[in-house]
């Protein structure tokens, strides 16, 4: 299985478009959004400045891109192309394929997080304690597993021409409504009520809690845990269904 992870990784690193969107793009977007903001104005409804706030959002967005895009479309394509069937004729355990995909996506998501942090610290003077940097990296990285599971589920749910639009709608919907591109406090009230329950919102809130050195909200943790159970359960169920059909 290690050899499959290695090969998946080689392939991901060779794909410039994928690398650009998951590693470089979040940092660029961070500079565009936070570029003109001064470092003292607080985000409405939050104790954080805009650059500090957006740094976590964009790091989360980068990790989301790497794991969601890395999994869904490729799994759907390789399932249809028959590569998944071919792998089932090897000693690789059934789940090995999905695990290798997720592991390689996680390796790509780490630099996308770190690069956003580096850009924020260097260009926008974001300053945090050492433990906060480490905790942020760990939390955002671990939290991306929720969306890796979602990517797997989408890869087994959709096929053919449907997978791209479904992935895109999910991806942009979750990013925007979850407040990764702009603080949800700028949304109208009814939309804020919805956004609050999205896993992406909880994901970013986790990082913002660390930035403020306070414990995360129970609701955010609960949303993330429940989302993970739902997505992973859905992925496992769809995977089994696909295996029986193939």
């Amino acid at each position: 299985m290690n050899s499959l992870i290695k090969l998946e990784l080689t392939r991901a690193l060779r794909n410039r478009k994928f690398l650009f969107f998951s590693v470089i793009y979040p940092s660029v977007l961070f500079l565009i959004i936070a570029g003109n903001a001064d470092s003292t104005t607080k985000v409405p409804g939050s104790a954080l400045t805009l650059p500090t706030y957006m740094m976590v959002s964009m790091a989360s967005f980068g990790a989301l891109t790497a794991v969601l895009m890395g999994n869904s479309e490729r799994i759907a394509k390789e399932r249809e192309g028959g590569w998944v069937r071919q792998l089932r004729l090897t000693t690789l355990p059934g789940r090995g394929y999905v695990l290798a995909k997720t592991a390689s996506a996680a390796v790509v998501s780490l630099p996308s997080i770190v690069i956003v942090f580096a850009v924020a610290a260097a260009v926008k003077d974001v300053r945090l304690d050492a433990w906060q940097w480490l905790a942020l990296t760990g939390a955002i990285w671990a939290g991306s597993l929720v969306f890796a599971a979602l990517g797997v589920a989408l890869g087994y749910l959709a096929s053919g021409d449907a997978v791209r639009p479904i992935t895109m709608i999910t991806y942009f919907g979750l990013s925007m409504l979850g407040g990764l591109w702009m603080p949800t406090t700028t949304f109208p009230g009814w939309l804020q009520d919805i956004a609050e329950w999205l896993p992406t919102h909880a994901y970013a809130a986790l990082g913002q809690a660390i930035e403020q050195s306070r414990a995360p909200h129970v609701q955010d943790l609960a949303v993330l845990v429940v989302s993970f159970v739902l997505f992973a359960g859905g992925a496992a169920w769809l995977y089994r269904k696909d295996t029986l059909k193939a």
Partner: protein, 303 residues
């Protein structure tokens, strides 16, 4: 511990999709060292049979055993190498990388360089998998199927997309595999391939095993040649029916169509009748017609 020496054993295996019975009560056993062709037209159930054999599909009823264990256990033990017709390849990696992966995943692997050269793909080792021609991709699939020292090699329509030269080279490689004592099972719809390569031919039609024997036996069973000609005079059917080696006769207007197991003798006797056949054609029986011949014979027998 079972004492059966069967490499593959199907016992009353059935598999249906909705109302269609893709495989219908199939019972068969492959012995070690055999090269076996699974022959049948499209839709005969060949791919489903191989999927069941490899454990990619579960039978609705009956059992499939490989080396006395389940297909999955046999694969995990490294005893089976397989090349699927629908076997996709991983995109954006090179041929060499993919072959190395296959070797890494096999419990009794060969060296990647060995596998590449045996499959005749050293020259394209650095090429990206998604930039290959159909025939080249088939050779890569073959390399994946032979990445390790497996006892059984299963190939689904392996020469699809290959030109004549590649096809011949491919079968030469296959024969080497068989000569090393491996059991080889391949599905094909070309009678000639089965004829040239296999020790044993299984004829599959509508999910059932119609015939099981050497290629020569199958062809004899099917009636080897078809003869057609036009007669200007009134056709004397009774006289034609008396021709030697005749297996079937149809007359439509002036046109006479005959199937014969010895076309030379039949044509010779035809001239002996004193008739003058025009537009005489003698041709090998297509597989499609061979199936019709075998099916008709089987159905007549079961009545």
């Amino acid at each position: 511990m079972t004492t059966t020496a069967s490499v593959v054993a199907f016992d009353q295996v059935s598999k249906a999709y909705d109302a269609v019975r893709a495989v219908d009560g199939l019972t068969l056993a492959l012995r070690p060292g055999e090269t076996v062709a699974l022959l049948g037209p499209n839709g005969a159930g060949k791919s489903t049979t191989l999927d069941l054999l490899l454990g990619l599909k579960k039978p609705d009823s009956g059992t499939v055993r490989l080396f006395g264990t389940s297909p999955r256990d046999a694969i995990v033990a490294g005893r089976v190498g397989a090349m699927l017709q629908s076997g996709g390849l991983m995109d954006e990696v090179t041929v060499a990388e993919l072959v190395r992966l296959a070797c890494d995943l096999h419990p009794k692997p060969y060296r990647p360089s060995e596998v590449l050269s045996r499959a005749g793909i050293e020259q394209i080792a650095d090429r990206k998998v998604n930039k290959l021609s159909g025939g080249q991709a088939q050779r890569v699939r073959f390399a994946l199927a032979t990445a390790g020292d497996s006892d059984l090699i299963v190939l689904d329509e392996p020469t699809t997309g290959m030109d004549v030269t590649t096809r011949q080279a491919f079968w030469a490689t296959m024969r080497e595999q068989a000569d090393q004592g491996r059991t080889v099972l391949f599905a094909t719809h070309y009678l000639e391939e089965a004829d040239a390569v296999a020790d044993r031919v299984l004829v599959l039609h509508r999910g059932r095993l119609l015939a099981d024997g050497t290629a020569a036996e199958i062809k004899a069973k099917a009636g080897a040649r078809r003869i057609s000609f036009d007669l200007a005079d009134t056709v004397d059917e009774a006289a034609l029916r008396g021709l030697p080696f005749l297996t079937s006769l149809t007359v439509s207007g002036p046109t006479v169509r005959i199937q014969s197991t010895d076309a030379d003798a039949t044509v010779h006797a035809l001239y002996g009748l004193g008739v003058y056949p025009r537009n005489l054609e003698v041709a090998g029986l297509g597989l499609e017609q061979a199936f019709v011949a075998i099916t008709t014979a089987e159905e007549a027998k079961s009545k």
